[in-house]
Symmetry: C3
Subunit: 209 residues, 3 copies
């Protein structure tokens, strides 16, 4: 039961990440190929970078047809039904935030399997959850959104810290992942609802290097 | 004989990719070092990304001096003779398109050697052929050209599909690579000649995430 | 004694690379998370790319807590004391140049350990020293500074050539690394002092591909 729900969250997360890529690419007036590539990279970019950094190669999405097919179908459907989908912003936001939590926990667990220290595992979780969007923004010639606005990566880091804190306690290991996914979801949801933002820091006169 | 011809296509492709990097870099008024780096990345970027994704490390161009030397010499010559080379656009275009076909087939064959599924092999072939140019465009702060205009990656994908279709038939395995290289070359050539383009899809009101 | 001094140079280099990332990020008005990420990537980006290219995975900074902690603390301190630090430009420049020399030699020595040829080792050294700044510039949506102005990578390449030249002679292997670090430092320092630059090459009418 729990496994099935987590698998569903995985798929929903992949789908919404791909959809977010499609809409970002359409804003920049890319052609059909460009849109599909941006959808792919948004959905699998974070996990790909994680696997390249720790050396789990070939990267995971190359080992089965499931993820590429899900992305292909959901990106194609988003292009076709782009005017309908736009009315489901809240639903997409909820799936996106659940996906963020799921991918973060997945990345952390992979770091633990590779014997890496807690701080590095949290970094890997954050990379898994957030860097698909970062690479999407770079390819579309934007400064990555999560570096400028929104509590996004911060939700992953806080969730990651909680994960390792709970690991030190008697908290049931069976539900640890579910709890952290929900916490990350809630932080992201509340941050959006109440427009929480990190401070922007700059000074008037700065030099480049 | 066939081996020698394919090796010549490999070298011509590397040279023209490097030349295309030099000209793109000169447009952005880079200095000599910047020009050489962009030439390198255009020529070896696609294969490098492929090798990093599948874990064939150190990446191929690090294992022999041949490719780096070819790039160094041809990029240096393009800088010196930039006003002459500009008169050979059609020749460069033909070599570039042949190189595109060759690198695509090379990437697919490597995917097959690594035991990956056909869809992934086609993706790897397309990455090998196209992503040097993508990384070049990112470094030069442009949205990658192949995401916006031109049938380029599409030629690789169609050629890749044909490759795996012919593999199912009795078609001679000796000539499979040559035929697919020619098909990719022809699609690219005809697309340029008749200005075929993929549809650009966008909608008036879109939100970023 | 020598080991301790080199370790100090390593740390000072990491700190100043992180500080340069913080200031570049503040110029673009990033939020706190964005600033920390840019600091990290500037400090470890070059070594990370090197390790991903040669397959020394997980990448080095993941294997101990020291480097991440140094970056976290120095980036945090730079944000807090940004108005004080700005008065220590010359000191930062000296540490940055020493770090450049150290990281270049480190990258070359790793290439030698992996059995790669001298040209590739010099490339790896240059990547180690320079590509953190390149990735920083890409993320901040700038054309990388070292492709346009300043003798920076050129100092690494000249230092690298000297390294392999001296390796052919009877020069003491114990002091080879120290000498090359100092030479790279001096080239960079003199280039800045006397405003040496590489020629910028461009032509009036160029085509993109």
């Amino acid at each position: 039961m729990k496994e099935e729900i987590l698998h569903a969250v995985d798929i929903l997360g992949t789908v919404t990440f791909a959809v977010s890529g499609v809409f970002a690419a359409m804003q920049k007036k890319l052609d059909l190929f460009g849109i599909m590539i941006i959808a792919f990279i948004t959905a699998i970019g974070g996990g790909t970078l994680r696997d390249m950094l720790i050396g789990d190669l070939p990267v995971v999405w190359m080992r089965s047809a499931e993820t590429p097919l899900i992305i292909l179908v959901s990106a194609g459907a988003s292009v076709l039904f782009r005017n309908v989908i736009r009315n489901f912003q809240v639903t997409l936001f909820i799936f996106d935030s659940l996906g963020l939590g799921f991918f973060t926990v997945l990345g952390m667990q992979k770091g633990i399997t590779f014997g890496l220290s807690p701080g590095i595992c949290i970094a890997l979780g954050t990379i898994t959850g957030c860097f698909g969007g970062v690479i999407r923004d770079i390819l579309l010639n934007n400064i990555p959104l999560i570096f400028r606005k929104e509590i996004y990566a911060t939700a992953c880091i806080l969730g990651g810290l909680l994960y390792f804190l709970l690991l030190q306690t008697n908290f049931s290991k069976d539900w640890l992942d579910v709890v952290v996914i929900i916490i990350i979801f809630l932080i992201r949801f509340l941050a959006m609802r109440f427009k929480w933002e990190l401070p922007v820091i700059y000074s008037k006169k700065t030099d480049d290097r």
